[in-house]
Amino acid sequence: MYIRLILGTMLLSMGIFLSGCNGARESEEVAYIVAIGIDKAEQEGMIKVTYQIARPNVEGNKGEGEKDTVLISNSAITIAESLNLLKATTALVPSMSHVKVLVVGQELAREGLANMWGSLKRYREYRGSMFVLVAKGTARDFLEGNKPSFNISASKYFETMLDSGVETGYYLRVSFHQFYIRLKSNSAESYATFVDISNLSGKGEIATPKVAGSKIEGYTAGGIPLQGGNPIQFAGTAIFNGDKMVGTLSTTETRMMAMLLGNFNNGFLSIEDPLLPKKFLNVNLRLGSAPNIKVALEEERPVIDIKIMLEGEITNLPSGINYEQESYLRLLEEQVNQVCHEEMANMIQHTQELKSDVIGFGYYIRPKFTNYQDYLQYPWFEKYSQAKVNITIDTKIRRTGLMIRTYPVK
């Protein structure tokens, strides 16, 4: 009987004293960091780390012009030292467990990030689910320029913004885990969402010209013609070779990349009317099935065969030509095929020139090898730039929207 009493008391005491509550901190004592920006510092060999820290009492009673976050930057030799400096200079205890995005300045990204990722992956407060962005200018400027138009918190803004990338395919959401495994993989190169601040002048800067049959050009972040709203832009993709950024893909190129990755949910395509090229028409596209990719290791150079199945819905037909009819529909499908084929071929050629297999065609060669050592010895990244690429796009316009025929305007 006594032994049970003693055991019961012991268990209860342990529950009370060892459950971790003695180390707990109230939320107002903690500085929750929602974004970290990393740039090259002015001093040689140093980095400038910017922390976007949430102000816990702002949500709900935010005054006019009042920001719900505070930006603090410091320069240090490592991220860990920068964190030490932050702890030493703020009253609240910084916590990295709620970091949503990691923004790297383009200059630093082009120099290489190998030394940085180790601490981010090893220290338990950083999570593989935070997203990686590369800022065209500096990360500090990007975070400073972020002024969400709607009354949502900074962390929710980043999360919602990155979620909505799938609605167009113009930028891709990349988690730190996805970025990191590609950094260590022999099958694919890393990529990150490309971001910048717009001057809101309404003038755009074209990154990739429109292809034959298309009505749209590609932009990268900062180049989208924009007036009003939040000046920061998520557009395009920063692509890497090893740990170094080597270039960017525009919005149209990123959409083709999304199709090849199987991540293209849907997006509008504006193309020339096949019978009246001065007119345009819109199709809402989505992937009809996962991309069918095969890579053959020919003696001279690898051959990549790509088959993409797209499904679409007509959303605008200003010409009045009755493309809803079976005979005309084929013309429309062919036009979509041609535009996507050319955009995809250009995008792949661009990545080949930059020697960066961001699509991950290297994954498809793995089954060709008997064992892992043979696979590791095959210089895929070198061979990729010489690979021959065959693309087949097969579009099926499944629906015609809420109209079954179009009468021309008088």
Binding site: L7, M10, L11, M14, L18, G20, G23, K121, R124, R127, G128, S129, K156, E159, T160, D163, S175, H177, Q178, Y180, I181, K184, S185, S187, Y363, Y364, R366, P367, K368, F369, T370, N371, Y372, Q373, D374, Y375
Partner: protein, 369 residues
């Protein structure tokens, strides 16, 4: 020895006991070391790793079949008193060192993941006391607690593996032969020692209803553990690949941390830590119980309870000895040689002796056994 041999344990108790002892290594760094050795074919090593202990268990059940009494009597009849002492003492050391090692690893990982500011000794003592209490309450309390926890643990792990579907890269499982089929077979044969826990069923045989119960329990426990391990390895390889997979200290914790379906379904690892800690506690308690049971049988103690606190203190002290986590992992890899002796050498020796004696008709078997 009534409280040592209740004779009431059924299949469910056996399953829970073995599952509780052999499963927790999935949560630890063992998998990271193995994926580095074998590459994408590690799953095959896991299949072999599961089949071998099952064969050994059936061999030991054959040994036990013709002789009435506890494991000491069985060994004594087959290889003499000194041989029996040697074997049982070795097994006791194996189980106690396994308990100490798991205790240290779980304490380290608790500090790393959940309670970074708590003193290391406090966590070790906490685990050791809890495991001690479980042991003190007896084998029935231990196995039935384990049986209650088991479905929840399996469901939790299964849920994590399913929620990670968006991160699967099936091509990471290729080239299919990984670092070589023979390498995987070797790993499977060498690593089978980590399943030495299955022999707990044979050691505690008098506590079970009959030999059929033991065989059935072993079959189910190893099948469940094997299926879970193979599924886990496949998902782990698909999600992290070879290079990153070999970097991780806590494979399952890292998988749980990755779950991100949307803004509302993420950060589930906090819930998962509870399951993980319970698993660790049961594994330490199970190993401690079997280690102490073998000592009690050797010393012909009427009950286990008085030596439970001593055992708990012993494994807590053993667990605190290694200076750092790197050394612990090194010991873990070296300890497998000892476990391999436990899974291959002794059972084979006992099996050959039993077979030889039966063949020569020297063994007296009673009809009741």
């Amino acid at each position: 020895m009534n409280d040592l041999h209740p004779g009431k344990l059924g299949v469910a108790d056996g399953i829970a006991l073995v599952f509780g002892i052999v499963m927790p290594r999935v949560f630890l760094s063992t998998i990271s070391n193995l994926i580095q050795q074998d590459g994408p074919i590690l799953w095959l090593a896991m299949v072999i790793y599961t089949i071998i202990p099952l064969i050994i268990l059936y061999m030991m059940a054959y040994v036990h079949k013709g002789i009435t009494g506890d494991i000491f009597i069985v060994c004594q009849k087959l290889i003499g008193t000194i041989g029996a002492w040697g074997i049982l003492l070795s097994y006791s050391i194996m189980f106690l060192s396994n308990g100490a090692l798991i205790l240290r690893l779980y304490s380290e990982y608790t500090l790393l993941t959940a309670l970074p500011r708590v003193e290391f000794q406090v966590v070790i003592v906490w685990y050791a006391v809890s495991a001690g209490i479980l042991c003190y309450l007896g084998i029935e309390a231990l196995t039935r607690t384990s049986y209650i926890v088991m479905p929840f643990s399996i469901a939790a792990i299964g849920m994590i593996l399913l929620l990670l579907i968006p991160f699967y890269i099936v091509y990471n499982l290729t080239p299919w032969q990984g670092n070589g089929v023979m390498q995987a077979v070797q790993t499977g044969i060498k690593g089978a020692g980590y399943n030495v826990g299955v022999l707990a069923l044979v050691f505690l045989a008098p506590a079970f209803q009959n030999t059929r119960t033991i065989k059935k329990a072993a079959l189910y426990a190893l099948s469940y553990a094997g299926m879970l391990r193979v599924s886990f390895i496949l998902v782990y390889t698909m999600v992290f690949g070879n290079a990153v997979g070999a970097e991780k200290t806590m494979p399952l914790f890292e998988l749980a941390r990755l779950v991100y379906l949307n803004q509302y379904l993420q950060r589930i690892e906090a819930l998962f830590i509870v399951v993980w800690v319970v698993f660790g506690l049961l594994a330490v308690a199970g190993s401690l119980y079997v280690g102490l049971y073998l000592l009690a049988v050797l010393l012909k103690l009427p009950t286990l309870r008085p030596i439970v606190p001593l055992g708990a203190i012993l494994i807590a002290n053993l667990a605190m000895m290694p200076p750092d986590i790197g050394y612990v992992l090194e010991v873990d890899q070296k300890l497998i040689t000892l476990f391999d002796v436990g899974i291959y050498v002794f059972p084979t020796l006992l099996f050959i002796m039993a077979w030889w004696k039966k063949r020569r008709g020297k063994l007296c078997t009673s009809a009741s056994s």
